[in-house]
Structure formats: C-alpha cells, structure tokens
C-alpha cells in the first residue's frame, strides 16, 4: 500500500525475559511473545493519541481481529528483547500493525507478527470507523 506512514506510527519497546515468560522447555513460551507485542502495540496506540480515559468513557476499544505470528528462534531467560512495531495498512474500519521481536544483543529476529485491529463499541459489538485523522491520530475526539 502506497500510503505514507507518519513517524508516530512506529514504536520500539524493550523487555527483559523473566521466569514467568519461560516454560519447562527452557525458552520463552510461544504465547508470551504476544504479551510482549501487546505492550508495544499499546505504547504505539498511546503515542498515536489513544487515550485510556476516552476508552473508558466511550467504551470504544481497539480490538484485535486477527493475529499471525511466526516463531524463528527461541528467546531465553534474562535476555533483553526489543519489539519493533509499525502501522502498515488501514481502511475505513480496520488497520494492520506489523511487529518484529529481536534479541537486543545481536538483533536476531526471534519472531515476526502482524495483527489486524478494529475499533469496536464493546457494549454493542458494533465496529466504529477509524477517526478522520488516522493514522496521524488515533484519538476519537469523543
């Protein structure tokens, strides 16, 4: 897609692998990468102008409608990981964000993921159009 992506639509976060992130295989559990990614995605949303007070007042949440994730190399206890995310596509009611989880020490890509999100009025389950300012701003201005 040829849309220009504003600078505030990129995020980079870091996390250190804790015991509770690992499993008896000795490496980070597959589901946990999605928690790391969600932290990055939430920080990205905040950076794009999403406002938790607005969310709680309006009941409109950004809801994940699809996740794809490929696991490439395992992360281990104590390692520092970097999650890089960016908005890549959007239409009237949906946007896509792509992520890479990297090992900070050598930038090896451990996992890559893309997620589709939609704004949803949770009480009714109805989708809500992306705000006019998207992706420069994710604030609903409601």
């Amino acid at each position: 897609m040829s849309q220009t992506i504003p600078e505030n639509c990129r995020i980079s976060t870091e996390v250190r692998v804790m015991y509770f992130d690992t499993d008896a295989g000795g490496v980070v559990h597959n589901i946990v990468y999605l928690r790391f990614i969600e932290t990055a995605r939430t920080m990205l949303a905040i950076q794009m102008g999403m406002n938790f007070e607005e969310i709680q007042r309006t009941g409109i949440h950004a809801v994940v409608t699809r996740t794809e994730i490929d696991y490439k190399r395992p992360a281990k206890l104590g390692e520092i990981l970097r999650v890089e995310g960016r908005v890549t596509e959007w239409s009237g009611i949906r946007f896509w964000v792509e992520f890479e989880v990297l090992r900070a020490s050598d930038n090896a890509v451990l996992a890559s993921s893309r997620q589709a999100l939609a704004l949803v009025q949770v009480s009714t389950g109805k989708p809500v159009r992306l705000p006019a300012g998207f992706p420069a701003s994710l604030s609903l201005g409601l």
Copy 2:
C-alpha cells in the same frame, strides 16, 4: 471459629499442568498456583449461589483482599493436581477461604493458601455486607 460450615462451602477441582504453567526451572511457576486456586474459588462461589449475571448487573464483585501461600513441593509438567478449598471464617464484610493444592497421584500437599475476600461495589470501591444467607448462599438477591 465454631460456626458450622455448610456442605456447599467446600470444593475440589482438578487441573493438568500445561507448558504455560511451568517455567525454565522445570516446575510450575509460583504465581500459577494462584490461578489454579482462583479457578477452584470461582467454582466454589458458583456452587454457593454466586451468579455472573448478577455480578455484571450489580457491579458487585468478590474481591481478594489478602493472599497467603506456602510452597512445599514443586509440581511438574503433565501432572494432575487437585485443589481443595473451603470457607473457614466470615464476619459482616469479609470471609476467608483455605486451599490445598495436592498432587493427584499420591495426595502430596504441594502448596497451601488462605485468602480473605470482601464483596465490593467496584464502581465506588465501597464494601458491601455479606448477604444474610451467607455462607449457605452467596447470592446477593439483587
């Protein structure tokens, strides 16, 4: 305490240890026992007449105000655990539930815990008195 404890104030649940329950130490992660205990506690609350529709309508939740847990022996991947819980004490606004987590194969006690709970109107943070029928019934009848 000399109060008689009704039969519906006891629960026993089973869970099989999954990968996501373990950590790189090769055993069940310490925090995960509290998830197992919460499942038992929720099934106990349902058995005592707590009703999720009532909770969602009234906004009154049973909130944990204190947890104590002692870890005695580790649980391992694939093991079947049994959680036994029972209400042990209660007063106007608070009740205590005690739990043991046992290894099903030999009844070894792996962890023991006690938790204090209070009914709270979440929107205001105000405690709510236990219903008159407690512990025979946890239904608020609202």
Copy 3:
C-alpha cells in the same frame, strides 16, 4: 490434502471463563484464547501418544512455529467454551492443527485458529522428523 486423518487426531475440551481470562473491555482477552487452544492441543498430543516423561528425558518438544487466529465474537465471564481441534496436514518435519473455539450454549464460533508445529530437540534447536507412526502416534519411541 487427501490424507486420511485417524480418529485419535481430534479433540474437544471445555473451559469456563474465569476473571483472569477477561480484561477491562469486559470480555476474554485476545491472548487468552491461545491458552485455551494450547490446553486442547496438549490434550490432543497426549491422546496421540505424546508422553511427558519421554519429552523430559529426550528434550524433544513439539514447538509452535506459526499461529494464525481470527477473532469473531467475544466470550464473556462465566461462559462455558468448547475448543475443537484436529490435525489437518503433515509432512516430514511439520504438522498443522486447526481449532475452533465455540460458545457451548449455542455453538457460536468465537474464534478459529491454525497452528504449525515441529518436533525440536530444544538443547540444540534442531528439528526432528515426525515419527513413522504419525499421525496415528506421536510417540517418538525413544
């Protein structure tokens, strides 16, 4: 794929939605569905002859290499969900499992997912060929 799928390659598990499965949106958190699916997948692996003692002795684990999941309708606190899974495809070093998460009360499909898995010797990171008996048996016989 025209391979015949043995009867032991299907699984159905149930889970009741607990508080810790939900988030402030009032519904089951998107990541949690993958925990429900992992429980079904592990029960499927056990049914197919995977043996936790063998895993711990050999260090060969079935590792998720890709997950896709589509979220269709939200699950709510207290609901009983059913996870249905089945092996759908396999080759020398990889197999695919598909899942649906359904609301037990009306069989509504809440989420559908497919995952690719590979057997990996965790200490070396090397893939291991599926055993000759796969999918009739996932036992490595080691």
Copy 4:
C-alpha cells in the same frame, strides 16, 4: 532484625497497566500484582549479583517459599505503577523481601507484600546455603 541492609538490596521498578493486566472488574487482576512484584524481585536479584548464566549452569534457582500480599486500592488501565522492594531479613537458607506497589501519580499504596525465598538445587530439590557474601552479593560464585 538489626542487620544493616546494603544499598544494592533496594529496587524500584515501573510498569504501565496493560489490558492483559486487568479483568472484567475493570481493575488490575489480583494475581497480576505478583507478576509486577516478580519483575522487581528479578531486577533486584540481578542488581545483587545473581547471574542467569550461573543459574542455568548450576541449576540453582531462588525459589519463592511463601508469599503474603494485601490489596488496598485497585490499579486501573493505563496507570503507571511503581514497585519498591528491599531485602529485610535473612538467615542461613532463607531471605525475605518486602514490596509496595504504588500508583506513580500520587504515591498511593495499592498493595504491600512480603516473600520468603530460598536457594534450591532444582534437580534434587535440596536447599542451598546463602552465599557468604549475602546480601551484599547473591552470586554463588560457582
């Protein structure tokens, strides 16, 4: 206890509350505070000289043997929390760490906790004496 506590036995970490930390009650789930505390405790252990490579080589882990936690005020989505921890007591085979979870905006105490830990050789389950340098150093020097 009148032992002097070295400066490296105190830690302060911050965390922002994510969706996956909250539950349908609209606030942070009770179990999640222990994840926040574990992150602080792990950073404290690193600061005290614990070394993940040493842990993985020796199989000696610092294991939680008891947790107590009191919940005072709820934390909410998007809030920044601060976890303050410090080693308070120790004997030959056990040490205690105390924590407070505070709301960063006004320093309100949301939860307070104490945990007992022991060094354990996980493969045998045997306790290991605290190193001679404890608490100035948690490195086993093995």
